[in-house]
Symmetry: D2
Subunit: 118 residues, 4 copies
């Protein structure tokens, strides 16, 4: 199964429930942010190390479900906007590759911090 | 190109810059939320109608780029957690289908509001 | 009761539960974002008009509680950072006043959209 | 200066620019989330220890400004909803005190993780 199939499934889910009327880009962006908030809530009190092994903890199922929710709303938002999500990501990655040449930013988070900085 | 290819590209991007050290689940979840925040900022003052035609406006390129950024961090976060994003979304959608039978929630946003409610 | 009193109450709440160890700026910023996500979730499917009268709806109590949660984490985050929240806001407002002279941006959301734009 | 004064200043700022038309609760909640996203972006790559000393770093001014922005939108959102922010926070804190008795949750983040859990 790929993103195109998932997009069709999510769209059908909305159509079957007559929820398309609620699925404006604004509303879906808010829903996406709400789901990301739930994901943050799962990780917020963990140490970096604990977060790295969270999928071996009893939080695993919940974290996976939240990732699923985030993906669902992101795919749905891209669908109503008519954007190819994987292509948009690939293009953005290529753009970032030009702005952050590996040999200039290696090992430096500071240089990654401000994408619009010089 | 599918999500697996994108995941490999994003991983290579991080490896080439020695940024894996910064890519804990906690940090990536924060970065994801930061990018979603930028997406919200693009849409925040638009009416619902304006948001629906945003890809026909001069904001189109920026909105697409923000969607790309969100996707990149989501794919990277799922990668470091070892979660198959499309599968997690499909499973969650199946679960939501059971909790929200189409004939009981049709046309009602209120019934969709609290996923964990009765 | 003012913000200083609230800050002291929130600090005491953390101290009494020995939760100061979890209250790093990173963790608190994530918790703040999580609470804002819950607030968004309350409003996400409402029309602009419905959102304007939400305090006259049966969602009023929940929205007020979410605002309270957001304020609690914001006050706590500012406390651990040693920042005076009201002063920081006042200074930022003065700064925005200089960047957005009323007679140049009146009635235009577009001009407010990019704080770092010209 | 207290929150009431700040609320009046923020309201005047909006009125002078004829921006009240954009200040629906939905839009302001999105703007609030956008500013919280900027705050997260400042902290995302820092270690917990680095985040604890961020106000002694060259990020201090930016972090303080982001806190100011978050506070401004939170105060404005509460204003348009007619909610007393400090009172809402105090009430929520009292409620949390009942749900998390200090002697039962001391030192445990896990017990704080799910406010609605048992």
């Amino acid at each position: 199964m790929d993103v195109d199939d998932l997009r069709e499934q999510v769209r059908a889910f909305a159509v079957q429930r007559d929820w398309e009327q609620f699925h404006t880009p604004k509303n879906l962006a808010m829903a996406l942010a709400g789901e990301v908030g739930e994901l943050l809530a799962e990780l917020q009190w963990l140490t970096p190390e604990q977060s790295s092994s969270v999928m071996q903890s009893d939080l695993a199922g919940q974290v996976r479900a939240e990732l699923g929710d985030v993906m669902i709303y992101l795919v749905r938002l891209a669908d109503v906007l008519g954007v190819d999500l994987v292509e948009a990501a690939r293009d953005k990655l290529a753009d970032s590759g030009r702005r952050y040449p590996a040999d200039q930013v290696r090992g430096s988070a500071a240089k990654a911090r401000r994408p619009t900085g010089s």
